[in-house]
């Protein structure tokens, strides 16, 4: 388990996000129960589990997206680089610049391709002038493996792109604010296999600079893109460990039944 790193008192430098006893309630519903997990730097961590198991809810705790839901209540501790992200002095907007998010359905702004990328750096004051902004737009589109396809039509609306291109644009937009962590909530579920493969290739490249946490319903995708896998069931984190271990010899019977496609 990833948490062992901390328990063993080993060097903790590689832990990007640390969650301790995290509980989430939607009104009376107890959606997440005492989740302890360490998200490592430069690692892709996959959250898997049946619908309603809480994996997306927990993902949204990591950049305080649950703040936007009135009835949601989060307890416990989530540390990003050892700083409590739920501390009173933390601005959720700043936090979300550091912990970016990509959603299931590509959701580019109704703006030009250029402005989709430029929006974040502008509002966060990350650039001094137009040429710096141009550089950021180009480098982010390159990092998102989209530059060559759009460099001649940066003024066209983001929504004019194909689904896969739109999703890469959203990834480019997420990394434009120089985040530490990228959260992806089923980023390929609306894409065809080619676009999916391009996103997966991109995720692997992004890992060099970011921690990536991906929620996916596809076991094969979890196996292909992640180094760590965490299995959620009924709001509990059942098992977390190396992806290879989870997919060859999981320890918990619930994990085994889920990943092998059995009724558990």
């Amino acid at each position: 388990m990833a948490t062992k790193t901390a328990q063993n008192g080993k060097e903790d430098l590689d832990i990007k996000i640390r969650s301790r006893k995290v509980n989430v309630y939607y009104g009376d519903t107890h959606a997440i129960k005492d989740v302890d997990i360490d998200i490592e730097a430069n690692t892709v961590t996959a959250f898997i589990g049946p619908s309603g198991c809480g994996k997306s809810t927990f993902l949204r705790c990591l950049n305080r997206m649950n703040d936007t839901i009135d009835v949601a209540r989060v307890t416990g501790e989530i540390l990003l680089d050892e700083h409590d992200i739920y501390a009173r002095d933390v601005d959720p907007v700043q936090l979300r610049a550091q912990v970016g998010m990509v959603f299931q359905k590509p959701n580019p702004f109704p703006k030009s391709i250029y402005d989709n990328i430029a929006y974040g750096p502008r509002i966060h004051g990350l650039v001094a002038n137009k040429s710096e902004l141009d550089e950021i737009v180009e480098s982010c589109l390159r990092r998102a493996a989209l530059w060559d396809e759009v460099k001649d039509r940066l003024d066209e609306p983001g929504t004019s792109l194909s689904g896969g291109q739109q999703q890469r644009l959203c990834i480019g937009r997420a990394i434009a604010t120089a985040p530490h962590v990228l959260l992806m909530d089923e980023p390929c579920s609306a894409l065809d296999p080619i676009a999916t493969a391009q996103i997966e290739e991109l995720i692997d490249e992004l890992r060099q600079d970011y921690s990536v946490v991906i929620v996916t319903h596809s076991m094969q995708q979890a196996g292909r893109v992640s180094q760590k896998t965490a299995f959620f069931h009924l709001g509990n984190l059942v098992e977390a460990g190396s992806t290879e271990k989870i997919f060859t010899s999981p320890e918990d019977e619930r994990t085994q039944n889920y990943i092998t496609g059995r009724i558990g």
Binding site: M219, Q220, G223, I246, F247, T248, S249, P250, T255, Q256, N257, I259, T260, G261, R262, I263, G264
Partner: protein
């Protein structure tokens, strides 16, 4: 695994692989039993049956391979299903080889008799060795069916006895051959039969190691095997 897959076809395919493997196991058991019996009683018809059975054994290995490849490609099995598929393929490979050894023994049967005496001492040892090897093969197949780790580990340890008997047979036959060069042809044939049995024991231990991976998910490690065989997992 008691819990059924949501996709019932997946269960059907895994069950089919297992059924083919058990058919193969039964045939290979009969091959070893019959080849030794043919050697013991100079039964040519029985030796012929062993050789003919090998055709079906080879076919079964191909069928298991094909079906496993199909399951890997189309179902992408993971965890215990993945281990079951890989294990079936490897166990089938070992069984096929054991079948070849039985065929080899059956083919040499007549040569022992046509080239003179049968060396009573080594011959008795050979039959003792064959009892152990046959028992090991039966037990490892039973352990496979019942997913019995302990039984499989006991099998693994019994190979030491097989190796010991083989070494003594080797020395004895060597002595006979040195004493009298006319014993060399029969001696060599008997020695090859003993060697085939010894190799059969090795393939049975391989199967026991594959069963270890299937049941525990861990790669087989000789040191762990010793501990577990002697005193349970925490012992």
């Amino acid at each position: 695994m008691d819990v059924a897959h949501i996709v019932s076809k997946f269960d059907e395919e895994l069950n089919k692989i297992e059924a083919l493997l058990l058919e193969m196991g039964g045939l290979v058991e009969s091959q070893i039993r019959n080849s030794i019996e043919a050697v013991r009683t100079r039964d040519e018809a029985l030796a012929q049956i062993v050789m003919e059975t090998d055709i079906r054994v080879n076919e079964l290995e191909r069928e298991i391979d094909d079906l496993t490849v199909r399951v890997l490609a189309l179902r992408q099995p993971v965890a215990s299903d993945l281990r079951a598929a890989l294990c079936a393929m490897k166990v089938a490979g070992n069984l096929e080889r054991i079948g070849d050894y039985a065929k080899g023994m059956a083919r040499r049967m007549d040569d022992i008799y046509t080239h003179g005496r049968t060396f009573d001492g080594p011959f008795a040892a050979l039959l003792r060795m064959s009892d152990i090897v046959q028992g090991m093969l039966t037990d490892v197949l039973d352990a496979y069916v019942s997913r019995d780790l302990e039984k499989s580990q006991i099998v693994w340890r019994r190979d030491d006895d097989v190796d010991t008997i083989y070494t003594s047979i080797f020395r004895e036959i060597l002595t006979y051959m040195m004493e009298n060069p006319t014993h060399i042809t029969a001696g060599m044939h008997l020695l090859f039969i003993a060697k085939n049995l010894e190799r059969t024991g090795d393939h049975v231990t391989n199967m026991s190691e594959q069963l270890y991976f299937l049941l525990t998910g861990d790669k087989f490690d000789e040191s762990t095997m010793n501990i577990i065989a002697f005193g349970g997992r925490d012992g």
